[in-house]
Amino acid sequence: MDISIQDGHMIDPANGINQVIDIHVSQNRIRAIGEPHQEFKPERVINAKGCYIFPGIVDLCARLREPGEEHKATILSETRAAASAGITSLVCPPDTLPIIETPGMVHMIQDRANAAGFCDIYPLGALTVGLEGEKLTDMATLLDAGCVGVSNALKPVENSLLMRRAMQYASTYDIPVFLASWDSWLQGNGVVHEGTISTQLGLPAIPEAAETVGIARDIALVETSGASAHINLLSCERSVFRLGEARQRQLPISASVAVHNLLCTESDIGEFNTLFKVIPPLRTKQDQQGLIEGTERGDISVICSDHQPHSLDSKLAPFSEAATGIAGLDTLLTLAWSLVNNRQLKAETVIAALTVNPARIVGLGSY
């Protein structure tokens, strides 16, 4: 069907468009922006006055819980939620059960995504066997099977030599390495930011240094290994500074932030509200401001949901024992857009961080 979408405000950072303009669609593809071909006769005209039009959102970090934890969510339920919230592509970390470390698992996930039909899924393959940080996986094979990168999910590789070799190996085949850059020892069994709230509530704390130390190491390894790396989920201002320096040196490194770290702080935990239990943790107001400014500067180029659906009862536990993570697909765009409404981020910045920037990191050609 041929469709014209008229008078919508289109923001398309990849093509430098930010204006009210018509779009003409034929056979599910955009054929023209602005004036259509003379022979184009739309069968349907959509009046988009007062609406924004964006490219489909690419969420770089979303857990779908399938396979392994289907009582929490499924590929069908999560891709449907994603599509209804404007997300057309999901990148999912390898910490499913079983772990994504064989071509068979990659194919299975993609088959199920195709069967569901709501949006595309791009799996990340495991960086080390069993995510145990001891042996490299068959990364090149995983790439051939359809993985868009490799990652050790939430388990940083403690052994710096192995991490360096993993980066060197990945760089041989231009495989992007996704990093949870934090120091496991400093992270310890912490559940909240180390500061006023951890002190008052008596909760095991994660110092800022857990992240800054991890990032400093990983930047040094990227610099000497030639790998292109994406640091998943920054949480503190000083990490943003480290990343800014690395980018000034033209290192092939990018970073994302979870939308809740842009909107919330440690204070939101209030009286042990387990719904705000996330890793990396919510930090201070200054960190929040630093993350926002880093996003506007482009040091952080991606905003993602870090979607982690849970069953209700897994949050009904003492804070340190409750499940970690927030379900965020449904709210990713609206929460990110609230920063535009509050004049904290420019509209183009937010849309680029949700669409073209993540698309380029995982090599989606259509953006």
Binding site: S198, L201, S320, A323
Partner: protein
């Protein structure tokens, strides 16, 4: 009407105290009320008949997910003196979602028509979690949740201080030792600040002092000489032996030499300074025997007072704060 800024789950919709979970968020009026009624209970233990019928027909469950003898016993005695039926549960629980959850256990006991739970658990926030998932008429007292708070201990401590020193606004208090892992210290700091103490200091090596402790309204000293100067009350905290593995403190010897309370170090404090300890004490590790058993020590008074203070807290929660009901 009470101040209801923090931890509102403690209050009912009329602003009356319903649970006793944290000192944080309580008003001076509430604390003073509890102390005053505790005072009237003090002579109770000396009577021939040590019972009043305030909790007659009520069931109180001592639900301890962490082992304890002294605290559980004082709660048991306090409840029995108020004529409650007391059940002691030394429960174990899984830390993960496998097995029965802490809420499952509590709801099972609640289904047996328990009126009051006294809860101790290793996780910070457990008492709060339990209280917010029980029906409105069930009362919860926090007997220690992780590193968070141990509010009844703090109440008996300030009660003991008031017995000896009266006016809080003139008092300097030092808390010495493992503040990081101490729920007692956190509750004490809140209680002393609410009651208007002139100055609170914490003393210890930086590995045992939580970040931003100053935000709780205390000062910090890294040595006993500066920390105890002009101090009226010295509160020693228990050092767990497992902290002594070289990770937080190099050795018992080095710790005792710097932060142990001895006749010598006690001289840094005021001559009439009183010495407190929530117990159980490690003689020769944080406090010398001569100080623990000496004339300045009120450690045994603290234990005795614990019963009256816990009776008073239970009476408050059961709506018996009008003194006329039992005198």
């Amino acid at each position: 009407m009470s101040k209801r800024t923090d931890f509102p789950v403690q209050f009912d919709q009329n602003g009356k105290l319903r649970h006793f979970l944290t000192i944080q968020g309580l008003s001076e009026e509430i604390l003073t009320g509890i102390l005053d009624i505790a005072h009237s209970f003090i002579d109770f233990g000396k009577r021939e008949i040590k019972k009043i019928p305030l909790m007659r027909g009520k069931t109180m469950v001592n639900l301890f997910f962490e082992p304890s003898t002294r605290t559980r016993t004082t709660f048991e005695i306090a409840a029995k003196r108020l004529s409650a039926d007391v059940v002691n549960m030394n429960a174990t629980r899984m830390s993960t979602s496998k097995g029965e959850s802490i809420l499952d256990t509590v709801k099972t006991l609640e289904a047996m028509h328990t009126d009051m739970f006294v809860v101790r658990d290793r996780a910070s926030g457990s008492a709060q979690l339990i209280a917010s998932h029980l029906p409105g008429h069930v009362r919860v007292i926090n007997a220690g949740d992780g590193r968070h708070e141990h509010p009844t201990q703090a109440m008996l401590d300030v009660f003991t201080i008031r017995q000896h020193k009266q006016d809080f606004s003139r008092l300097r208090i030092a808390i010495v030792g493992d503040i990081l892992h101490s729920r007692v210290a956190r509750s004490q700091i809140h209680a002393l600040n609410i009651l208007g103490a002139r100055e609170i200091r914490v003393i210890g090596p930086r590995t045992l002092i939580p970040t931003d402790i100053e935000a709780m309204g205390v000062g910090y000293a890294n040595n006993m000489k500066d920390g105890l100067e002009d101090v009226d009350v010295v509160i020693m905290l228990r050092i767990q032996r497992e902290r002594m593995d070289g990770q937080l403190i190099p050795s018992e010897q080095e710790y005792f030499a710097r932060y142990g309370l001895t006749e010598e170090t006690l001289k840094f404090a005021r001559p009439d300074a009183m010495v407190m300890h929530p117990g159980p004490i490690n003689r020769g590790l944080e406090i010398s025997s001569s100080v623990a058993d000496g004339s300045r020590s009120v450690i045994l008074d603290q234990i005795t007072n614990g019963i009256a203070v816990r009776m008073s807290i239970m009476a408050h929660l059961m709506g018996g704060q009008e003194k006329s009901k039992w005198t």
